[in-house]
């Protein structure tokens, strides 16, 4: 693989990568591949849509989002309780949270779903390929994307 080292690391080390993924194995693979691609930001995992929303909207008694930090969300679609599309919808409806870049990373390659996610305002849509090489390729690309993207800070709620 020719990805090599990424020289410019625009994404601040302070930036946190949120991964909403119900499958532990998938999360582990994504994390490892991201780290191999040179992304060394803090990574947080949420097992379902509810946990993700609780974190972002500062609700519940789990981990909470800190104001004025940079976040990026990798979002799976099919998850228990609240699915990824609903999470995306809620984030993009919020005037504050909608600045967070959302990368859809899912096994669903249904064109209707892909279009819907784009309509709702996801930044990137990537299908989790079954083939390992393709998978690492995809996650590598996300790693590259993360290293060049300018992530806005999200302020807290009033």
């Amino acid at each position: 693989m020719k990805w090599g080292q990424v020289e410019r690391k625009r994404m601040n080390k302070e930036g946190v990568i949120l991964i909403a993924e119900d499958d532990e194995g998938h999360f582990e693979l994504i994390k490892r591949t991201l780290q191999r691609a040179g992304v060394c930001n803090e990574i947080l995992r949420f097992a379902d849509g509810q946990e993700t929303l609780d974190f972002l909207f500062i609700k519940g008694d789990g981990l909470k989002r800190e104001p004025n930090r940079e976040y990026l969300l990798l979002l799976d679609i099919r998850m228990p309780k609240i699915d990824g599309i609903e999470v995306l919808e809620k984030i993009k409806q919020d005037p504050n949270l909608k600045k967070i870049p959302v990368v859809m990373l899912t096994t669903t390659d249904d064109p209707v779903t892909i279009e819907r996610c784009h309509d709702l305002g996801c930044s990137v849509y990537i299908v989790k390929p079954v083939e390992y090489e393709d998978f690492t390729d995809a996650v590598h690309k996300i790693g590259l994307f993360l290293s060049v993207v300018e992530i806005p800070q999200v302020s807290g709620f009033k």
């Binding site: 194995g25 693979l29 390929p129 998978f135 690492t136």
Partner: protein, 475 residues
Amino acid sequence: MHPHPVVIFDIITFLACLTALVFLCKSSIHAKQHRTQLLFSGLLVFTLLCYSFCLILEWSRVTSRLDILENFIGVLAPMWWAFVFYAFLKEITEKNLRESEARLYELFDEAPIGYHELDTEGRITHINKTELKMLGYKYEEMLGRPVWEFVIEEETSRQAVIDKLSGAIPPGQALERTLRQKNGNTLPVLCEDRLLHDDFGNITGIRSTIQNISKRKQAEYDREQLMETLASKNKELESILYVTSHDLRAPLVNIQGFSHELSLSCEQVRSALRDRKKSADTDEKLQTALNKDIPEALGFITNSASRMESLLSGLLRLSRLGTAALNIESLDMNTLLADVTKSTEYQIKQAGATVKVEPLPPCRGDSSQINQVFTNILNNALKYLDDTRPGMIRVYAKAEYGRNVYCVEDNGVGIAPDHKEKIFEIFYRLEPDKKHGEGLGLTIVKHILERHNGNIRVESKPGVGSKFFISLPSV
């Protein structure tokens, strides 16, 4: 003594006159007395009187012939002959006409479609038996009433009839209308109008044919229903395919990914072993690979493989459910629920719950499949009990329009409104990390109930509990 030939001629003429009189009298019964007819009758009676007078005189030989009278009769005789001939022809023609008219009326009345005629005001002037039978009215009840009074789409019909009568819109286009029957029911019909004109081309009314299309409408409705069922089945199938392909792919990603991780770990072990100078660093690398990375990868691979296995066997179970023959019989639900609670006794004890079954009415269904329905629901209720309070599950029923609605009520964790539909989705699990299962229980329940012409719905309050309502045909 032979009578004089002229006398024979006279007798025949006399008879002709008599016949003419009979014809005239007969036709005067049918039709109104006409002025010419009156004149003819007068003349006839007069002639007959003259004749009788002459004949009597001649036969009695009281006196010789009265010449003036004789001449008068001689002039009139051919006229009477002509009249008799005319009257005879007329009688034959009229008889034919009456017969064909009767035939026509029979056709009109007994036609398989309804007929009616309207005057220039849209009032019914004529209506056939078929249409009367269609609507259940008597002839007098419909005669003279505006036709739109019998149409559900009253205003539309009124406007259309008035427009047609005024010549504003051409008739001829078949329209679908709904007629009001006397008993209050409605009848879908196909109505076709034709305008009636007088000799000067003025519109004098409308003649309409009315066709009963209720059978066609019923067929159309049935077809629509079928299409809807098909569409929903199709959608369900699509969603099963969609979900299945997604859920089957997920473990594959893991198997592929961690196989590669394994090979990476192997490479690490190999390179560590190649390292001649065994330092603490290589030792640690070996330890990590052998004790952490490799077992972890193997764990993920094994788990994913068994996940796939359980998904596939679940799919197979669901597909077998659709082909299994149903043995529909009257089910004693009290016995059935006793069986269900007995077979789940262990789980009930484990959950520390109390299950209370109230007397239940019998229903119709396949005993093993309905048993499966209640077992699955009871298991679900036990699985999602709230740890903070003792579990209480209650089963009761009420009758509702020829159906029985059985309710399984629990005081468990409840279901958020957003998940009410999702819980019936194939492979959907609310808390996959905490509870084991395939996410098939409620899908199977829904499937079984659909085949039993039943249904299931859920009412729930998060934190309070859920009520599953199962509707089944009653005995």
